[in-house]
Symmetry: C2
């Protein structure tokens, strides 16, 4: 069911510093910050040859990553995202296996403009897993 | 400097259950458990089309991931590994930028039989970063 690792998302306490570090210290390809007001984050994409790193920083008053940064002030890996061909089929297969989907269970349009779902970290070894239909 | 994302390592509290979940619930390609006594872990590799997930479980009395699991009993993402062409050049560039390398600073032979270094999580947004020379 799952395909490529689409990205690893890292919540960071200082987006400019983190982007500069990936560009200057780690020598990676770093994009410009993109505000995603519908998702409560500002994102910087790090392009690696085989996948992406997404640096996440809170945007607005009710950012979904603010609580994570409150608990992890230095930042940390927030989630990993696997690609799927058919997100509804993937969801139904997961639910049939007893896994929990966060929210209503209906896919939302994610930061890349594609349908996404998040799976409950307690069901997946403490990892927040995003599925993205590609 | 950094190249491909070589793997994402996830520490898990039950290796058999986690491997079965990736195989049966997420439909991924899952290898057999491999004991790595020199590294204090048993590893299961999940093969994705563009990278790998490594499930890590403690092996022996002084496993480097036991403390992580004590703090995170459900498991969690333990580290991410970036590939580099020349690990000594990468290390020297990082040290010159003020980043800290864990241990003596000399590369060790990692679980894949290649030279590796770990960077201090406090210098990298709370993420433990492994560099592997490929």
């Amino acid at each position: 069911m799952i395909g490529r690792l689409n990205h690893v998302a890292i919540a960071v306490p200082d987006l400019q510093a983190a982007a500069a570090q990936y560009r200057d210290t780690l020598g990676a390809g770093v994009g410009a910050p993109q505000d995603e007001p519908d998702h409560g984050v500002t994102v910087v994409f790090i392009t690696l040859p085989n996948t992406k790193i997404e640096l996440l920083y809170p945007l607005g008053d009710v950012s979904p990553i603010q609580g994570f940064l409150d608990k992890n002030p230095a930042g940390g890996i927030h989630h990993i995202c696997y690609e799927v061909d058919d997100i509804l089929a993937a969801r139904d297969q997961l639910l049939a296996k007893g896994a929990r989907v966060l929210g209503s269970g209906a896919p939302r349009i994610g930061a890349h403009g594609k349908p996404v779902l998040f799976l409950h970290p307690k069901d997946f070894n403490g990892c927040l897993v995003e599925l993205e239909q590609v």
